[in-house]
Every structure is written in C-alpha cells, then in structure tokens.
C-alpha cells in the first residue's frame, strides 16, 4: 500500500501544487490505513487476502473513528476543490492573457508581412515618384534658363542692330557736315552775286543752321545708341554670369536630389528590414506562446486526476466506515479496484500496477505512442 502511494507521488510529482496536494493526501491515507488495519485487528492469516471479522470495536470508539474519517475526508476534498478552483481560474486567466498577446502579436506581425508583400515595389514606386517630381522642378529651372538665353539672344540681335543705328547716325552727321560745306559755298556764291544773291544768302544761312542741327541730332543719336549698346553689353555680361551660376545651381540641385533620394531609399530599406526582422521575431514569439498555451492541457489531465482522487477519498472513507462496525478488513483486490475506479490516464493505471517509476519515465520518453519534440503524443487512431 505504502509503495503504491510512494509510486503515485513519484509519478505525479512534477512541481505542480495540486499534484503535490494529491501526494500529501496519499501520504495521509497511507498513514491512516495501517492504523485502521490495526484497529480492525486483521488476523495474520488474512493479511493481503480475505478479511475476517474478529472482536468488533466498541460502538463509541467506532463512531469516533468514523467521525474522524468523515472530518478527514471533508477536509481533504475541500482542499482539493479549492486547489482545483484556483488552478482552473488561474489557467483560464493565463490562457485569456496569452490569447490577447497572440491577438496583439497578429497585429504587429501582420503589418510587416503586408508591407513585405508589396514592399519593394511600393517603395520603389514612391521613390520614383518623388524623384520624378523633384526632377520636374529642375526641368522647370532649365526652362527658365532657356527662356532667359532666348531673351538674351534677342538682346544680342538688338545690340547688333544698334551698331547699324550708330553707323546710320554717323551717316547723318556726315551728311550734315557736307550740307554745311554746301551752305558755306552757297553763302560765298551769294555774296559774290551781290544784291541779287541776298535771298539766296538767307537760304544758305538757314541750310547751314539746319545742317548744324542735323549734325547735333546725329551725334545725340550716336551717343544714345552707344549708351544702349553699353547697357546691352552689361546685361549680356551679367546674363552670361547668371547662366553660369544657374548651371552650377542646377547641377548641385540635381546632385542633392539624387543624394536625398538615395538616403531616403536607404532609410526606407533599413526600416523595411527592421520591420521584417520584427515580424520574424513576432512570428517566433507567437509560435512560442501557442506552444505555451498548448502546454496548458496539463490542467485538464490534472483536473481529471484530482477529480478521481476526490472521488476515491469519498469511496475509500465510505468503505472503511462500513468496515469499522464489523471489523472486517476490505479485500486487497477490492480495495485496489475501489481506489482505481475512474482512472482515465495511463499514468494512473501505471501507479495502480505499482509501476510508478515506469509511469514517470514513460511520461518523458516514448513508450505508448509516438511523441513530438515537446513530449506530446502524435498518434491518432482512425476507425
């Protein structure tokens, strides 16, 4: 009997509080049973066999013993029920918590997965769009420069035209000088003609005055044309300088755009890589959490074992209470049958067979059915 309970203890001793409680209850029953046997005064020839009624206990002592048994059974079963309830509630909370963690993980892991699905294409498309728009700005700058060069071309043409105007002004001045010479000659000839040439002398004087004015006008035109030419030359020089500066700015802008797009591309690539890494790690954590949740199946097995122990305590106490008044020891086989009623797991049956050590070993190594790396059976029986 003691060996059976020791085997039970070793079989279920996995560090779980409820199993530990079962163990101590087993110890208590083991301690109680010999006392009861002693009280029942089983003769030597009935040990391990049929019980024989001998010298019934006094009724008062029997009643007291029965009461103690009742108290013990009530206490044990209450403790077991408490342990069951606490473990059930704690397991439910843990599972709920793990379920919520999984939900959160799904959200975290799904985002990088979705990003990774079209991530590269989307990223390159966005970057190409950005680069295209920035290069559009540069093209606009090029357009401005071309417009200014066109305008400056017109100015150069105008500058060429002003040279013609200067020549024409010079021609006007030359004509004025020749006209002046003619008017002088006319005045001389009018003086030589005497009184009859006076009228002609007046005309010659007016012609000379007009030629002088024409000469002044030609000179002023020439001066203005020269001024315009100087202004245009200045404008052309400045435009040439600006064109060179603009080309430099555009070149630098293009380089900046290229550099910025490259930096953004690198940053986005790193972000994508980190997101992918985060997703992979999240996936690992998710699998681990799922495995942890699967491990909580132990609660169901423990629940069944403790339920059976609970029921067994009631049955054993009832059996002993029946035996007490008659002084008849329960038969060993009947006692084992009573204690094993309701067994559902291989480990329990192994305990009954006195093979606790084997049961414990069997729980860690393949013995009955194939198991995976986590020790879980992988065999399915199809009918």
């Amino acid at each position: 009997m003691a060996a059976m309970w020791v085997a039970a203890a070793s079989a279920v001793w996995t560090g779980q509080p409820v199993l530990a409680a079962c163990f101590w209850l087993g110890v208590a029953l083991t301690a109680a049973y010999p006392l009861l046997r002693k009280r029942l005064r089983t003769p030597p020839h009935t040990a391990g066999g049929l019980g024989v009624t001998t010298e019934p206990m006094p009724a008062e002592a029997t009643a007291a013993l029965m009461q103690r048994l009742n108290e013990a059974a009530r206490t044990w079963t209450t403790h077991l029920a408490t342990a069951q309830t606490e473990m059930h509630e704690a397991t439910a909370k843990l599972l709920q918590g793990f379920d919520e963690i999984l939900t959160q993980l799904d959200t975290i892991v799904a985002a990088p997965e979705q990003a990774a699905a079209g991530g590269v294409d989307a990223r390159s498309a966005v970057l190409e769009e950005c680069e295209s728009q920035l290069r559009g700005l540069i093209d606009n700058f090029h357009g401005f420069v071309r417009s200014r060069e066109d305008m400056m071309g017109s100015v150069r043409t105008l500058s060429g035209a002003s040279s013609g105007l200067r020549d024409m002004a010079e021609d006007v001045a030359k004509l004025a000088r020749q006209t002046n010479l003619l008017s002088i000659n006319a005045a001389i000839e009018a003086a030589r003609a005497g009184p009859s040439g006076r009228g002609f002398a007046v005309v010659a004087t007016e012609v000379r005055r007009l030629s002088a004015e024409s000469g002044d006008t030609g000179r002023r035109i020439s001066e203005r044309v020269n001024e315009f030419g100087a202004h245009m030359q200045t404008a052309l020089t400045q435009a040439a300088e600006h064109t060179e500066a603009d080309a430099q700015v555009i070149h630098e802008s293009e380089a900046t755009i290229h550099r910025v797009v490259g930096q953004v591309d690198q940053a986005v690539t790193e972000l994508n890589q980190r997101a992918a890494e985060l997703g992979q790690r999240g996936q690992i954590v998710r699998v681990q959490v799922e495995q942890l949740m699967m491990a909580f199946q132990f609660q169901d097995r423990v629940h069944q074992i403790v339920d059976q122990v609970n029921s067994s305590i009631h049955s054993a106490v009832a059996c002993l209470q029946q035996a007490l008044p008659t002084g008849q020891t329960p038969q060993a086989e009947a006692w084992r049958t009573l204690l094993s009623a309701g067994y559902s797991t291989q480990e329990q049956r192994a305990v009954l067979a006195g093979a606790g050590a084997r049961a414990r070993a069997g729980a860690a190594t393949p013995a009955i059915a194939p198991r995976d790396a986590t020790g879980t059976r992988t065999e399915t029986t199809f009918f």
Binding site: Q96, D99, D300, R301, S344, T374, T376, R377, F382
Partner: protein
C-alpha cells in the same frame, strides 16, 4: 465560407487551446461544456461540419453524446473525433461502436488535430 466545428469538453482551458488551433486554421468554432450542451448546440447551429468531443464529462459523457448524435437523422453523418485522456482499448472500442471516427489522446498537438480534422470534415 468557413466550416463549423463543435468542441465539447468540460475543461474551458482545453476548449480554449482547441479553439485556438482550429480558428487559426480557418475554422469557425462553437463550444459546449458537456454532452447535453453539445446536443443543444447541434440543435441550434445552422450546420456543423465536424465534432471534437471529450469522453469523461459531467451530465453526459462523450460516448453517450456520440451515440445520441448518431441516432439523430440530421446529424448522424457528422464525423466525430474523440479527444480524451483515455487511452484504453476498451474505451476506444466503445467510442468506435458509438460512431466516432477518430481517437486522439491528450495532450494533443495542433498539427495532429488539424490533420485528423482535414481528413474527416464534411465537404
């Protein structure tokens, strides 16, 4: 459209881990705490494509539950997988005679359960 699986088990934690495995595989799940609740759930559900049931349960055990399901004209073709700590041949025979199609001993792993589900579930 997702297929529906009824889980019958008196352990809520076990139902949770089974539900988790099935839902993640794309199935819809309804739950019941024992055989009686399982029969009620089957009566009210629009269509159940498969049942995963424990054996040892209060009120109505899994073997009785499967027997009742197999007597029902509308439900008798719904395949049943027994998911239990019981691994005795005699119990498995009871399950087979009651009409179960597969027997998985707890603790199970999700691929094992999903493999059995995919082999047995109604089209």
């Amino acid at each position: 459209m997702a297929k529906t699986i009824l889980i019958v088990d008196d352990s809520s934690s076990l139902r949770t881990v089974v539900r988790m495995a099935l839902v993640r595989a794309g199935y819809e799940v309804i739950e019941a705490g024992d055989g009686k609740e399982g029969l009620k759930a089957l009566e009210t559900a629009a269509k159940v494509h498969l049942i995963v049931s424990d054996v040892n349960m209060p009120n109505m055990d899994g073997i009785t539950f499967v027997s009742q399901v197999k007597k029902h004209p509308r439900l008798k073709f719904v395949p049943v997988i027994m998911l239990t700590t019981e691994n005795q041949d005699s119990k498995m025979q009871e399950g087979r005679l009651a009409g179960a199609k597969a027997w998985i001993v707890k603790p199970f792993n999700p691929p094992q359960l999903l493999d059995a589900v995919s082999k047995l579930i109604l089209p």
